[in-house]
C-alpha cells in the first residue's frame, strides 16, 4: 500500500514536471546525447535562454 502510494506520487510529480517543462533540460540532454553525441550539449543556462527565445518568437498565446 505504502509503496503503491509512493509510486503514484512519483508518477504524478513526473507528470507535473513534464507538463510544466520543468524537466526540459533533462529531456534536452537525453535528446542531444542520442542525436548529436559528437557535439557538446549546451549548459543549462544557455539552453534555457535559447528555449525561451524560441518559444516566444511565434504566436503562442491567444485571446
Amino acid at each position: 500500500m505504502g509503496t503503491r502510494l509512493i509510486h503514484w506520487i512519483q508518477a504524478a510529480w513526473r507528470a507535473v514536471r513534464r507538463l510544466s517543462g520543468d524537466d526540459g533540460y533533462e529531456r534536452y540532454l537525453a535528446h542531444h546525447a542520442a542525436a548529436h553525441p559528437d557535439i557538446p550539449a549546451l549548459p543549462r543556462k544557455a539552453w534555457f535562454a535559447h528555449q525561451q527565445q524560441q518559444k516566444w518568437s511565434g504566436i503562442k498565446r491567444c485571446c
Binding site: R18, D22, K45, F48, Q52, W56, K60
Partner: protein
C-alpha cells in the same frame, strides 16, 4: 456483442440526460434554474459530439492515419519539432488557446438572458470551433506544421495568404486594445486592484531572474515562488487600500491608467522575453488552470441558482452593454468559447510540431476547444448567478444609464431589474471597492460573480479577497496576451518592412525593434485611448469590432480547410467546414452591414458620428464632452472603414476559395496540394517501451 450493447446503453443515457438538461434550460420560464443543468448539458453535448462527430470526421473525412510519421517525428530537432506525449501537447495547446476571451464574451452577452449565449456556446463549439481547430491542426500536421498564412498561400494562392496575414495583424491590434480597456476599467479608481496588478510586474521579473540567473530552467520552483508572491500581493493590495497616504498613489482615473498600460506594453515588447513575458506566462498559466478547476468545483459543490431570465427585452437591440439585436450580435459577442479564428494560428504552426501521432488530433484539436467552450459556460454561469439588477448596474456605462447612482438604479429598475443604491453600496463595500457602478468591460462583473460563488463555497468573509484575486487573475493573462501580441505584431511588421528595406527585417536590430514596437503599440494604444475617453464605455465599440475580426479570421481558416477538402476529392464531406463557414459569412456580413448603415447611433458607426456632429454643431454638449467629440467622431468613421475593410477581406478570400474549387471541379489547373509525402512512423515501438 455484450460490450456493444452496454456502450449503446451508456451513450443513449448520455444523450437522454443531455437532451433533458438542454430542454430544461431552454423551456424554463419564470422559475429559477440551477447552474448544474448548464454543466450537465454542456458535458453531455461535448461527450456525444466528441465520441461521434469528431470520431467520424477523423476516420471518414480526414482519414487520420496512425501509421504515418508526423512532422515532429520526421523533423525532430529537440526544440520546436519534437514528438511529445499527447497529454502534454493537450496541456500546452489548451493553455495557448484559452485566454480572457471566453470569460469576457459570455459575460457581455448575458445582457440577452442566459439562453442565447449558452446555446451558441454549445452549438457553435461542437459544429464550428472544435471542427475548425481540429481540421486546421490536421492540415497543418500534414504540411510540416505550416502556419495558416502559408497554407492559405500554398493552397489558394497569394491573395489568400496576404488576406490571412493582414487579418491576423489587425485582429491583434483590436484584441490588444479591447483587452487593455478591460484591465483599465477594472483598475479605475480602485487602489486595491491597481496596486495588485502593478505588483504582478516586479513579481514576474523576480521569477524571471530566478529562472534565468539563480536556478536556470527550474520552472516549477520559480512558479511556486511567484504564485505565493501573487497571493501576498492580493492581500497586500487590501492593506494599501486602507493606508491613507498610500492609497492615493494607486487611485487613478482611466486615462492615466491607459497611458500606463501603453507604456508598459512598449517596455514589455522590447525587454528580453526571459525577464517579463516568459515568467509571467508561467504564472498566468498556473493561475488560469487553478482558478478554472476551483470554479468548476465550486459550481458543482454549491449548485447556485441562475437569476437572470432566459431572455431579456434587450434581444430587440436596445441593450445597455452593447447595442444591436440578438441576431447577429450574440454570435459576434461570443467568439472565443464558440468559434475563435485565433485558435487556427495556434493549431497551425505551434501544436502540430509536437504531435507524436495523427490519432491524437481529435483529442487535442476538438477536445481542447470543447474544454475552452466549457470555460465559457462557466463564465456565463458566473454572470447569470448575479441579480440581474446588479449585473446591469456593474456593466452598463454611465452614458447609457445615467451618471449618478440614483439615476442608474432608477433606469435599471425601470427595465424590470430591481436594484437599489444601498444594495450596490453594500456589494461594493463587501468587495473592497468604493463603487461598482459602470465598471464596464466584463472583468469586474465576472469577478463579483466568481467572488460570490467562491465566497459562498469557501467563506463569505473573504469576499473582497476573492474579488481582487479574480481581478488579478484576469489582469495577469490579459497582460500576457497584450505583451505576447505586441511582440508577434512587431515580428510581422519587421517581416513586412524587411521587404522594403533589408535591415528592418532583422528581428534583433535595435532601431528596427524600437520602431516596429512603437508602431504596433501606437496602433492599439490609439484604440485604447479612444475607448477610455468614450463616455459610452468604449467596450460597446471595440468588442463587436474584435468579434467581427476574430470571426473573419475563423472564416479564413475554414475557407482554407474547405478548399483543401474539395481539392483532395472530398467534396461530399466539405460541408463539415462549409456549414460553419456559411454561418460565419452570414453573421459577420450582417453585423458589418448593421454596424455601418444602422440609423441607431448605438449600433451604426456612421450614425453615431453624425449624431455627435449634430450635437457638437448645436452646442448641446458639455464643454468636456465637446472637447473630445472631434476625436470620437473621427474614430467612429475610422471604425466604419475598418469594418468594411474586414468584410471586404472576407469576401475576397471566400470568392478566391470558390474560384479555386470551381476550377478544380471543372478539371482546370489549381495550386497543387502541398501535403508532405507519406513516411511510415517508427515511433510505435519507442512508445510501447516508454
Amino acid at each position: 456483442m455484450k460490450t456493444n450493447l452496454s456502450s449503446l446503453l451508456i451513450w443513449l443515457a448520455v444523450a437522454l440526460l443531455g437532451a433533458a438538461a438542454i430542454g430544461g434550460i431552454a423551456l424554463n420560464r419564470g422559475e429559477s434554474i440551477n447552474a448544474l443543468w448548464f454543466i450537465t448539458a454542456a458535458l453531455c453535448v461535448y461527450a456525444i459530439a466528441y465520441r461521434f462527430y469528431a470520431a467520424w470526421i477523423a476516420a471518414t473525412v480526414l482519414s487520420i492515419d496512425a501509421t504515418r510519421a508526423t512532422p515532429a517525428e520526421r523533423l525532430n530537432n529537440g526544440r520546436d519539432y519534437m514528438p511529445t506525449n499527447r497529454w502534454v501537447v493537450f496541456g500546452h495547446h489548451f493553455a495557448a488557446i484559452a485566454g480572457p476571451g471566453p470569460l469576457i464574451g459570455p459575460t457581455l452577452a448575458a445582457q440577452f438572458g442566459y439562453l442565447p449565449g449558452t446555446l451558441w456556446i454549445l452549438v457553435g463549439a461542437v459544429l464550428g470551433g472544435c471542427v475548425q481547430d481540429m481540421v486546421t491542426l490536421f492540415f497543418s500536421t500534414r504540411r510540416d506544421g505550416r502556419s495558416l498564412g502559408q497554407m492559405a498561400r500554398d493552397e489558394l494562392g497569394s491573395i489568400g495568404g496576404v488576406a490571412a496575414l493582414i487579418a491576423t495583424f489587425l485582429i491583434m491590434v483590436i484584441l490588444i486594445a479591447v483587452l487593455g480597456l478591460v484591465v483599465v476599467n477594472a483598475m479605475k479608481h480602485s487602489p486595491w486592484a491597481t496596486s495588485t496588478v502593478a505588483a504582478t510586474i516586479p513579481i514576474a521579473m523576480l521569477v524571471g531572474l530566478y529562472m534565468y540567473r539563480l536556478r536556470p530552467g527550474r520552472v516549477l520552483e520559480g512558479s511556486a515562488l511567484g504564485v505565493i508572491l501573487l497571493l501576498l500581493a492580493v492581500a497586500g493590495g487590501g492593506w494599501i487600500d486602507q493606508q491613507a497616504g498610500l492609497r492615493e498613489l494607486f487611485d487613478h482615473p482611466g486615462l492615466p491608467l491607459a497611458f500606463a498600460v501603453i507604456g508598459y506594453g512598449f517596455a514589455a515588447a522590447i525587454l528580453p522575453v526571459w525577464l517579463l513575458l516568459a515568467p509571467r506566462d508561467y504564472l498566468s498559466t498556473f493561475m488560469k488552470l487553478g482558478t478554472m478547476i476551483l470554479l468548476a468545483l465550486a459550481i458543482v459543490w454549491l449548485r447556485p441558482d441562475i437569476k437572470m431570465p432566459a431572455l431579456t427585452q434587450f434581444v430587440d437591440g436596445s441593450g445597455p452593454i452593447f447595442g444591436g439585436e440578438l441576431f447577429p450580435f450574440v454570435f459576434i459577442t461570443i467568439a472565443c468559447g464558440a468559434i475563435s479564428g485565433f485558435h487556427s494560428l495556434i493549431a497551425s504552426g505551434t501544436t502540430p510540431k509536437l504531435l507524436a501521432n495523427e490519432r491524437d488530433i481529435p483529442m487535442i484539436g476538438y477536445g481542447g476547444m470543447a474544454l475552452e467552450s466549457f470555460v465559457a459556460i462557466m463564465a456565463m454561469i458566473a454572470a447569470t448567478v448575479l441579480d440581474p439588477g446588479v449585473y446591469f448596474a456593474i456593466n452598463s456605462p454611465a452614458g447609457v444609464v445615467g451618471k449618478t447612482a440614483a439615476e442608474a438604479v432608477a433606469t435599471i429598475s425601470a427595465w424590470g431589474f430591481p436594484v437599489t443604491v444601498e444594495q450596490m453600496n453594500l456589494l461594493a463595500r463587501q468587495m473592497g471597492e468604493t463603487t461598482l457602478f459602470a465598471r464596464t468591460g466584463g472583468a469586474p462583473s465576472l469577478a463579483v460573480g466568481m467572488a460570490s460563488i467562491f465566497g459562498s463555497a469557501f467563506g463569505e468573509h473573504l469576499l473582497a479577497l476573492w474579488y481582487h484575486f479574480a481581478i488579478m487573475f484576469e489582469a495577469l493573462f490579459i497582460l500576457t496576451t497584450l505583451d505576447a501580441g505586441t511582440r508577434v505584431g512587431r515580428f510581422m511588421l519587421q517581416d513586412l518592412l524587411g521587404n522594403v528595406w533589408k535591415p528592418m527585417g532583422q528581428t534583433s536590430w535595435y532601431p528596427s525593434v524600437l520602431f516596429s514596437s512603437a508602431v504596433v503599440v501606437s496602433a492599439w494604444g490609439y484604440f485604447l485611448y479612444i475607448g477610455v475617453i468614450d463616455p459610452n464605455g468604449g467596450v460597446n465599440i471595440l468588442w463587436p469590432l474584435f468579434g467581427i475580426s476574430n470571426q473573419i479570421l475563423a472564416a479564413i481558416a475554414l475557407c482554407v480547410a474547405t478548399g483543401i477538402l474539395v481539392k483532395s476529392g472530398r467534396l461530399k464531406y466539405a460541408w463539415i467546414t462549409a456549414l460553419p463557414l456559411t454561418w460565419l459569412i452570414v453573421i459577420t456580413s450582417t453585423a458589418t452591414w448593421q454596424k455601418v448603415t444602422s440609423d441607431d447611433p448605438r449600433i451604426g458607426f456612421l450614425a453615431a458620428a453624425n449624431s455627435l456632429s449634430d450635437k457638437l454643431a448645436t452646442g448641446v454638449l458639455s464643454p468636456d464632452k465637446a472637447a473630445v467629440a472631434p476625436q470620437l467622431i473621427f474614430n467612429q468613421q475610422l471604425d466604419a472603414v475598418l469594418a468594411v475593410f474586414f468584410a471586404a477581406l472576407l469576401w475576397l478570400i471566400v470568392i478566391d476559395m470558390l474560384r479555386v474549387c470551381a476550377r478544380h471541379l471543372r478539371g482546370k489547373p489549381v495550386p497543387p496540394l502541398s501535403e508532405a509525402p507519406h513516411y511510415p512512423t517508427r515511433l510505435e515501438e519507442a512508445w510501447a517501451r516508454d
